[in-house]
Amino acid sequence: MNNEFLQTILVTLKLACSTTLILIFIGLPFAYWLAYTKVRLKPLIEALVSMPMVLPPSVIGYYMLVLYSPRNAFGGWLVQVFDVRLAFSFEGALITSVIFSLPFMIQPLHNGLRALPDSLSEASYTLGKSKIVTFFRVLLPNIKPSVITAVALTFAHSIGEFGVVLMVGGNMPGETRVASIAIYDEVQALNFQAANQYALILFLISLALLTTIYSVNRRYDSWKII
């Protein structure tokens, strides 16, 4: 029982940490591109990124299952070339989780970058700094609250994921069984004590994360650009 509890928490943390880490690498360049692009399809791209916030997880989960299916092009290609089946695996759940948490990473970063005056990057360019140096030395340090919000929200959101992981990953102990699914399971089995443990842990982690976001953002409130 205790072992199973630790295993589930471990899987939960592994999924949330991996999701957040992957999304940092995807999110930073993507949010930068989105903030400064003049592409006409931008509203459509923004809408697609935000879709996971309004769609039920089961819809995304369903599409991902269809995508992963060996009977379809992408899934078939994966099986043929890499002998990989993503449905009901940790990796499959991870990819879905990345897509599902995308807006929580992109939106704060995007808003942060958009709120910066253009003159900051322009001044940096006239001082001879390249776009990449400008991004890491000027833009990113000045949207620190947005970065913290994005990372913490992404982590908090993916740690509490239920629907997509259940749809795509199933409920396999040690592989795809995360805390939120375990709660549901334990309640179904009338095992309230175990459910209570999982629930309390998720509650405390999320509370700690959100409190961190709000206290950090309050500290930076006085730090506005004139």
Partner: protein, 109 residues
């Protein structure tokens, strides 16, 4: 150093509060010369400075700095701001809020 003579001959369509305006500038700046640019708001003072810095591209024309061509619409040359030896003081100062005053000053080096 290069020959310090800026030659400007450019044309740019601007959108101002009073509608579209054509900005036409043809002038040159000599070495050691101190030049003041004045005009009513919307006349294109900021636009000209941004064009010189490379932050805005003119529609047509040529800008040379000594022997270096900064902009030439005929040859499709438009040197990015990083490669132009020019500094620009922004209207809103554009100081980097994440850096100390010292770092702001040292930053260009």
């Amino acid at each position: 150093m290069e020959n310090n003579l800026i030659v400007i001959d450019i044309q740019k369509k601007m959108m101002t509060a009073s509608g579209p305006v054509d900005l036409l500038v043809k002038t040159s700046v000599l070495q050691g010369e101190l030049v003041a640019l004045f005009g009513e708001s919307g006349a294109g003072k900021t636009t000209l400075l941004r064009i010189l810095a490379g932050l805005t591209a003119p529609d047509k024309g040529k800008i040379t700095f000594g022997n270096t061509i900064w902009f030439d619409s005929a040859k499709k040359i438009n040197l990015p701001p990083q490669q132009r030896n020019i500094s620009l003081m922004f209207q809103d100062y554009a100081l980097f809020p994440n850096m100390t005053i010292e770092k702001n000053i040292v930053c260009p080096t």
